[in-house]
């Protein structure tokens, strides 16, 4: 790919030796590498102290507890009893609603992640230009995300997408009669996809921040080399933005799998009509907090964790091909 080759040359020319040269030990003269590493290790742990405390107490501890609970019949009120793999086997073989939830969630993820990321990246690129009123536009595009998923949003969505609502009226005017979307099982999940994608502010801000960290001289160098706008996007912007793109892709994927609040408020906690908006975590919540089967809910959580872990590893594996780190020895 000539794009990244150009980039590496530019990088090397402007900012000094290519990072790869560090590894062959030319710098070891400065200080003993081992001593430096030891010092770094000590400093690292000092900096990591708050994180380590939080990770142990508030993350790892509770996570291990929930792993243990996933092999029990814990019902929140009584001491748990070990039931082995029963929760897991029930889930996979004897719970059709579980598979409804998996199907609904997969459908949601596949739709919302690309739409949301495309919107966020597109708008970020649009707003990264020198135009008047950029602050206004940036705020306007971010505004939907300010709302979060509150009860007011649920009300808005119902007004827009119910039978007889705004969208139903607009579509009827142009001769499309779908009825309401939010109250029909075949459409309901799309209203939640729209809600998720509508709030693309977080990845947009992250893209913007990433764009701003791309050194301006790279563009100048590329412009001097005669690269056009699209070429610059392809050869400079996207490669340098790729770590941020990876970040947003991984995080939005995880986020979409864990989508809860939107479905919870819009469907009043039910996941209806039918099971058409029964997201995985909504079902997990129902099992844990309304059916009091926290053991089962914990098992669901760990299955989700494993699936997300595998997916993330896959994403990172492909990342070696397309993510470029300016500050790293290798991608």
């Amino acid at each position: 790919m000539t794009g990244s080759a150009t980039l590496r040359q530019t990088d090397g020319r402007d900012i000094g030796p290519a990072p790869a040269s560090k590894r062959d030990g030319r710098r070891s003269a400065v200080r003993s590498r081992a001593a430096r590493r030891r010092g770094e290790g000590r400093a690292a742990w000092l900096l990591l102290t708050p994180w380590a405390a939080g990770a142990l107490l508030l993350t790892l501890g509770p996570a291990l507890v929930s792993l243990y609970l996933s092999f029990t019949d814990y019902n929140l009120f009584n001491p748990p009893h070990w039931v082995g793999l029963r929760n897991y086997t029930t889930m996979f073989t004897n719970d059709p609603r579980y598979w409804d939830a998996v199907r609904v969630t997969a459908q949601y993820v596949v739709l919302v992640v690309p739409i949301k990321l495309a919107a966020a990246l597109g708008v970020a690129l649009l707003l990264n230009r020198g135009r008047r009123g950029l602050g206004f536009y940036r705020s306007a595009f971010y505004a939907p995300s300010l709302l979060g998923a509150s009860v007011a949003v649920a009300l808005v969505w119902r007004a827009l997408f119910s039978t007889g609502g705004t969208v139903d009226h607009l579509l009827s005017d142009i001769g499309v009669h779908t009825g309401g979307w939010i109250d029909q099982p075949q459409y309901a999940v799309y209203t939640l996809v729209l809600l998720g994608a509508w709030q693309f502010g977080a990845p947009m801000v992250i893209f913007l921040a990433g764009l701003k960290q791309i050194p301006a001289d790279l563009y100048e160098a590329a412009a001097i080399d005669g690269a056009g706008r699209l070429r610059r996007l392809w050869s400079v912007t996207l490669p340098l933005l790729s770590p941020v793109l990876l970040f947003n892709l991984v995080l939005e994927t995880i986020h979409a799998f864990q989508a809860f609040t939107g479905a919870f408020i819009v469907s009043g906690g039910r996941g209806g009509p039918g099971d058409s908006t029964l997201f995985y975590t909504l079902y997990l919540y129902q099992r844990g907090f309304t059916d009091f089967r926290m053991g089962y809910a914990s098992a669901m959580a760990w299955v989700l964790l494993l699936v997300l872990g595998v997916l993330t590893l896959l994403l990172f594996a492909t990342a070696r091909r397309w993510v470029f780190y300016a500050g790293q020895e290798r991608p």
Binding site: A53, F77, F292
Partner: protein
């Protein structure tokens, strides 16, 4: 490094504490020192209920200088998530509100204190009707005291029904007459005669009672068969097919609130609900006159109406101040001033003398008067509270609505859906 080691040790200790402490919830609320007792009282509900309840609590605190009460309240779903978390953590409130779907659940898991030792001494229930009080009895013991009374009603738009020339609902009318009227209204006005009532297990329970059955039998088993449910859902299917019942897109939103009511949004000309919601309907309904009527029945002896507590109050098994909590409960139930403050925020007052004075009060709102009026016209028809729901009932209630969605959207047949609900419910109940 030393710092880190220290942190690591502290963290390990704390982690071990958390792990061992998790499942053994041994401690209750902290014991008050020096005679001063601090109680926690929790409920769900809207701002009106909160305001009235806080006023009553303030009165209680004034009468009982040694006791302070902190109040906690949320909306329904939020309340129950929080209560479950608190109970799991061993710090549930001393006195809290439950409903039908949760009372059995919490009782069977040992969270509630049996109130029998207090009955007649510090907790007086003499003025609470026996048909209502029985709702708080499980296995012969009193675990909860009703916070109010409500009963089932059919709320209908008089204007639309008259315009269609449908016979006005009257005591003793049958489901067949109801179906005929609903279809007539639907055909004549374009507004379906009633909200599709197949969504709520509560209304199925009414229908079962009229047919001599119950939702749940002894020991938390299912009290009906797939055939029973098939004929109930078959009945709604027939009326729906003849324009008598609301469209699926309206039915699927039903949750008992006025906000999502098909009647309020003019997608149905009548609706079954509990009369504790009558005030809300009257306030949100425009462009027609609403009237409340008894439900239809197929039985000569059972009206289908029952005295139901919209909410009940229970005392935590682990409360360190159960005596004070019971005192507060007694105050809320029997004190005339408290009763006047609480009014009809939890349905009609459970205490009959309070009820009489609240209904007769000059300050009673139009909504209150309507509820009082309806309850007095049907008082002869109202039977004892339907039996208690076992643990797992909340899940069954939710599945009932979800499966019914599949029926109305044509994804499954009535008989297949009924069979599915029965098998799902049996599985849910057996796993508890």
């Amino acid at each position: 490094m030393r710092l880190f080691r220290h942190v690591r040790r502290t963290a390990a200790v704390a982690l071990a504490l958390a792990l061992t402490g998790t499942m053994t919830t041994a401690c209750g609320s902290s014991a008050g020192s020096g005679g001063a007792v601090s109680l926690r009282f929790a409920w769900w509900g809207n701002a009106d209920r909160a305001k009235a309840t806080q006023a009553a609590v303030a009165l209680f605190e004034k009468d009982n200088p040694g006791i302070t009460v902190s109040t906690e309240y949320e909306s329904y779903d939020a309340y129950f998530q929080k209560l479950a978390t608190q109970v799991a953590g061993g710090d549930s409130p001393d006195l809290f509100q439950l409903d039908r779907a949760t009372l059995g659940e919490y009782q069977q898991k040992g969270v509630l204190r049996a109130l029998d030792p207090y009955l007649g001494t510090t907790l007086h229930t003499g003025s609470v009707p026996a048909i209502l009080l029985s709702a708080g009895k499980i296995d012969g013991k009193q675990y909860a005291i009703p916070g109010g009374q409500t009963t089932q009603m059919l709320l209908y738009d008089k204007t639309l029904w008259e315009r269609a020339g449908a016979a006005a609902p009257a005591a003793g009318w049958t489901w067949e007459q109801f179906a005929a009227a609903a279809e007539k209204v639907g055909k004549a006005t374009g507004v379906p005669g009633s909200t599709d009532f197949g969504w709520a297990i509560d209304w199925f329970e009414v229908w079962l009672a009229e047919h001599g059955k119950h939702l749940y039998g002894a020991n938390g088993t299912l009290g009906f068969t797939a055939a029973d449910l098939s004929s109930f859902w078959g009945m709604t299917a027939t009326i729906r097919a003849a324009d008598g019942l609301s469209k699926p897109s309206a039915t699927t939103k039903m949750d008992g609130s006025t906000a999502n009511s098909a009647l309020v949004t003019k997608q149905a000309a009548s609706e079954i609900n509990y009369d504790s919601n009558l005030t809300g309907y009257l306030a949100s309904y425009s462009g027609g006159t609403l009237a409340a009527a008894p439900l239809p029945t197929d039985s000569a002896s059972v009206s289908g109406l029952a005295a139901m507590p919209p909410v009940s109050f229970a005392v935590s098994q682990r409360s360190a101040h159960a005596d004070a909590a019971v005192k507060l409960l007694d105050f809320l139930t029997n004190d005339p001033s408290a009763g006047a403050l609480l009014g009809t925020t939890r349905g009609l007052p459970p205490n009959l003398s309070t009820r009489t004075s609240v209904c007769a009060s000059a300050t009673a709102s139009a909504g209150d008067k309507a509820v009082c009026g309806y309850e007095s016209t049907v008082s002869k028809l109202v039977g004892p509270s339907f039996g208690n729901w076992p643990t797992g009932a909340a899940a069954v209630k939710r599945d009932f609505q979800q499966i019914y969605d599949n029926v109305i959207f044509g994804k499954t047949s009535v008989s297949a859906a009924a069979a599915q609900l029965v098998s799902d419910a049996q599985q849910t109940l057996s796993q508890q």
